[in-house]
Amino acid sequence: MKTPSEDHDLIRWLDGEMTDAERARFSTRLAADPDLKAEVEMMQRMSSDLRAHLPAEMTVPYGDFFNSQIQVRLAQEEPLIPEARASWLDWLRLPTLITATAAVAIAGFMIMQKGPAAGDSVVLSIYVPNASVHARTFHSDEAQATVLMLDGVEAIPADRKIVGYYIERTETDQEVATTTLYGKSGEVVLVVSKDVRNQPRLLSATPRG
């Protein structure tokens, strides 16, 4: 098992913070310790992968959202960490872990889709109750639009007539939990209410089409 100072040396060596003499001593240790060498190689590979996918400097898109998600995940996993393993070294590693996790998340985010610009709409979370439906989201620069694509939704039968409305104004009555929808000429077109299961019920007044 490595001592805390050995871990600290490893981080300093990776970050290029050692003096020439320290670097020489560490290189000697590295040559003699296969475990240490393996750990160094693993961390170098991870660092190299991250650098390959990330620019030297970048603004974290929706940083608050990522940080909150990371904090939630850490809080969820905290009870699973045995107390015997917890040491001051774990706390030393925590910022590195958070940075690495954030970087991986951001890299994945960038690979999956180009990050939204300040003026772009963005989908933050998706929940699909039906397991056979798959949702994915992306931003189209060309269309200047954000897309939420639902794959696997059961097709609407071809013989079903879709009746469209032109709704210009609504009034909501919270006492009876209904919303009345009005058309171009101020006519009542539709009333939306909810049943005891909180599901919407739509009642047409003036069907069109």
């Binding site: 439906v133 200047q144 469209g164 409305y165 909501t172 009876v176 019920r201």
Partner: protein
């Protein structure tokens, strides 16, 4: 007959009856306004249903934008709905009875736009729930179910 359905019909009928008479209404506080439309995307204009709906001038380029995302060349607006987003209450965007959207405001977004919780409904079934930041000039396209020779797409735009 299902008691829930009877209840919903009675509630709706009462409201419809009341809606015919002018009642003083206190307008709830709003956080913004959205335009929602259900669009039929197809490559065969002969399959159009004959709707005369046109997008408002501010959103006139929506069909062109849709053409850059969906693999269809022709787009017909089946229905549209201009809706206030209520601050304290849910809002409904119902361009058709078949596919519609429930919108809950989560307040203004940093840097402009609105934080919204959206539920996309098909009849009595919610297809997707999502939290989104909607910015003016950046529409949200929801690719919905296939229909006839094409696909139904729900468009949601925050009005400037």
């Amino acid at each position: 007959m299902n008691w829930l359905l009877i209840f919903a019909i009675m509630t709706g009928a009462l409201t419809l009856a009341n809606a015919q008479q002018p009642i003083p209404v206190v307008k709830p506080a709003t956080d913004g306004k959205v335009w929602g439309a259900l669009v039929y995307a197809t490559n065969n204009a002969k399959g159009f249903v004959g709707s005369n709906e046109q997008a408002p001038a501010d959103f006139a380029d929506i069909p062109q934008r849709l053409g850059k995302v969906f693999p269809y060349q022709r787009f017909e607006i089946l229905g549209q709905h201009l809706q206030d987003v209520f601050r304290e209450y849910e809002s409904w965007v119902v361009p058709t009875k078949d596919l519609f959207l429930k919108v809950d405001s989560k307040g203004p977004a940093e840097g402009g736009g609105m934080n919204l919780h959206l539920q996309f409904w098909r009849d009595q079934q919610v297809l997707v729930k999502t939290d989104a930041v909607l910015k003016a000039g950046s529409p949200l396209f929801i690719g919905g179910p296939k229909w006839r020779e094409g696909q139904l797409v729900f468009v949601l735009v925050l009005q400037k």
